[in-house]
């Protein structure tokens, strides 16, 4: 993970500021930085999204491919996550440095989406035990400016909202061999229901209080953080503690409550922007990476 070196006096300034609910950039402890979300940025994927949180930049692409269902779940499709931390993000991730962070983020995503009804996997089934849709979710971390888990989870939800899986028909012969036929209409596709998809909220403990959406400087002052994945209704699906410091059980409960509250507002804001983008349709000016 990228980190900055700070002097003791600077860290003290940040910690005292958090105590008084005034962070360095004027935000309160529960405020997010201004986020920019755009979907459908990569043309050769089934769905894609780009999220920019001031100086944290994440790109997610989803490809739907046909595969065989897992043995223990024969009538469901599944998701595969792969995270690539680009060397552009920070010099520490050059070469093999980004692999550890990448596997860490991928494992967290698997855990977050392990909850049964986050994504309707039964809709991804084509032929039980034989064919199903596998969604390969590729995450590319372009710039690391603090709070990467939140940005990645927002981008994954936006990309799943944007995913269009082509409709297939199964034709059966007299002998029983099955053929899969793709529909002729390119716009005939199924969309995923993302209402239950959780988003990660990272709460970093600084001093006696905790903050949401920490910048790199604030992460350097925090010894322990809690990663909570929350659905739009406020239900917790997973929790993970990171950092070398310890957390008191009382503070964990407080942080969980804050996380649920903040998670609900995060989902409302994201859904609003996704609906707004959808309603603009083809008239939306595409910004992409050259804006």
């Amino acid at each position: 993970m990228a980190s900055v070196v700070l002097s003791e006096a600077e860290k003290l300034y940040i910690v005292h500021g958090v105590q008084e609910d005034l962070r360095v950039d004027g935000r309160g402890c529960e405020d997010y930085r201004c986020a920019e979300v755009e979907t459908d940025v990569v043309s050769n994927t089934s769905g894609s999204a780009r999220v920019k949180l001031v100086d944290t930049d994440v790109l997610v692409g989803i490809k739907a491919e046909m595969g065989t269902p897992k043995l223990e779940k024969p009538d469901e499709g599944y998701l595969e996550f792969f995270v690539d931390c680009s060397s552009n993000a920070t010099p520490e991730l050059e070469g093999r440095g980004g692999e550890e962070l990448g596997t860490d983020i991928a494992n967290t995503l698997y855990r977050v989406f392990s909850c049964e009804n986050s994504v309707d996997l039964k809709s991804l089934c084509i032929n039980p035990r034989e064919h199903c849709w596998v969604l390969y979710v590729d995450v590319l971390l372009l710039e690391c400016g603090g709070n990467i888990f939140d940005a990645i989870s927002i981008a994954v939800k936006a990309a799943l909202f944007n995913t269009r899986i082509p409709k297939v028909h199964v034709l059966e012969d007299e002998e029983g061999t099955k053929e899969i036929e793709l529909s002729d209409d390119p716009y005939d596709c199924i969309r995923l229901n993302v209402e239950e998809v959780p988003c990660i909220v990272t709460l970093s403990k600084i001093g006696y209080r905790h903050v949401v959406d920490a910048t790199l400087q604030e992460e350097a002052c925090s010894l322990a953080s809690l990663l909570i994945s929350v659905t739009s209704k406020g239900a917790l699906t997973s929790m993970k503690k990171v950092g070398k410091g310890s957390l008191d059980p009382e503070s964990i409960f407080e942080m969980m409550e804050t996380g649920q509250r903040v998670g609900k507002s995060l989902h409302t804001a994201l859904q609003k922007i996704l609906d707004e983008e959808e309603s603009l349709g083809t008239s939306r000016p595409k910004v992409g990476f050259l804006g």
């Binding site: 300034y13 005292h16 500021g17 922007i273």
Partner: protein
């Protein structure tokens, strides 16, 4: 109450009508031909290929008689003697500290170039060498002046005045060195209630104005008392104003920062970083600066 704002990205165009400046600047990108005339000498940022002078960096072409060079818009800091810089200690070595100043090589702060606590004047001994880490550690911020430049381009700093030394509580903002205007003094006590050091290397330090001048300290004791909330608000607002000026590529000097601060007063501190509010503030500040000039 949590506040989460999301928006769709927008293409950022040039802000308003840019005021007409004297001569049109010749902007080039890497690979652009500057001139096909072979009579010119090539300077920094250019190379010759097929009898054409081609730019190797993105920037403005500068011509002095027969010398053509390209001054890059975004470049590392090039030290010049007499500049004020704000730097961060990266290493503690035998008789010197290595300081990071956003230049190509780490700058050097020799043990003989600092003021000893108490203001004594004596030759540095072996005990001083062993106690170096007590004065400045890795991660500490200092303000210093450029004393000389080594042959390889590394800058040698000194803090031999009471106004330089270790920096205490405050906020550091890192910007491109080309945006800091060269002025007579880089230490400003702004009337809004905070002080700012505009380092020539692009490191800007915003801190609460100290109440009385500490004469005996020599710049090494740090004030660790909590900063009052009113000062914090001023510092946060200044920091956001500087970020707004940097986003719109305006020169940073005490007047521009002050005008931007005054234009931002009607808005909440955290709203200054929203694109539409930022544009409004910058337009007003730019207008006032133009009125000041003309």
């Amino acid at each position: 109450m949590a506040a989460v704002t999301m928006r769709l990205p927008q293409v950022r165009g040039p802000l308003g009508a840019s005021a007409s400046r004297g001569a049109e600047k010749h902007l080039v990108a890497p690979g652009d031909t500057i001139t096909t005339d072979t009579g010119y000498m090539r300077g920094h940022g250019t190379y010759v290929e097929d009898d054409k002078l081609i730019a190797s960096v993105a920037g403005v072409v500068e011509r002095v008689n027969k010398l053509v060079c390209v001054r890059a818009l975004k470049a590392r800091y090039n030290g010049e003697v007499g500049d004020i810089v704000v730097g961060r200690i990266t290493e503690v070595q035998q008789k010197r500290w290595k300081v990071e100043t956003n230049s190509r090589l780490d700058s050097v702060l020799l043990l003989s170039s600092i003021n000893l606590p108490g203001g004594e004047l004596r030759r540095r001994s072996a005990e001083d060498e062993l106690a170096m880490r007590d004065y400045l550690q890795e991660g500490d911020l200092i303000s210093a002046e450029v004393q000389s430049i080594f042959s390889d381009g590394a800058v040698s700093l000194h803090t031999r005045s009471l106004k330089y030394g270790k920096l205490a509580q405050g906020v550091l903002v890192q910007v491109s060195p080309s945006l800091v205007k060269r002025q007579k003094t880089h230490f400003h006590d702004l009337p809004c209630g905070a002080s700012v050091i505009l380092g020539n290397n692009g490191f800007i330090w915003i801190y609460p104005t100290p109440e009385q001048k500490e004469e005996e300290a020599g710049g090494f004791t740090t004030n660790l008392e909590p900063v009052p909330l009113s000062d914090r608000e001023v510092i946060s607002r200044l920091r956001n104003c500087i970020m707004a000026l940097v986003t719109h590529k305006m020169m940073l000097f005490d007047t521009s920062i002050l005008y931007c601060y005054e234009a931002s007063l009607p808005h909440q501190i955290k709203d200054i970083l929203k694109p539409e509010v930022m544009e409004e503030i910058i337009l007003e500040a730019r207008q006032r600066l133009l009125d000041l000039e003309g």
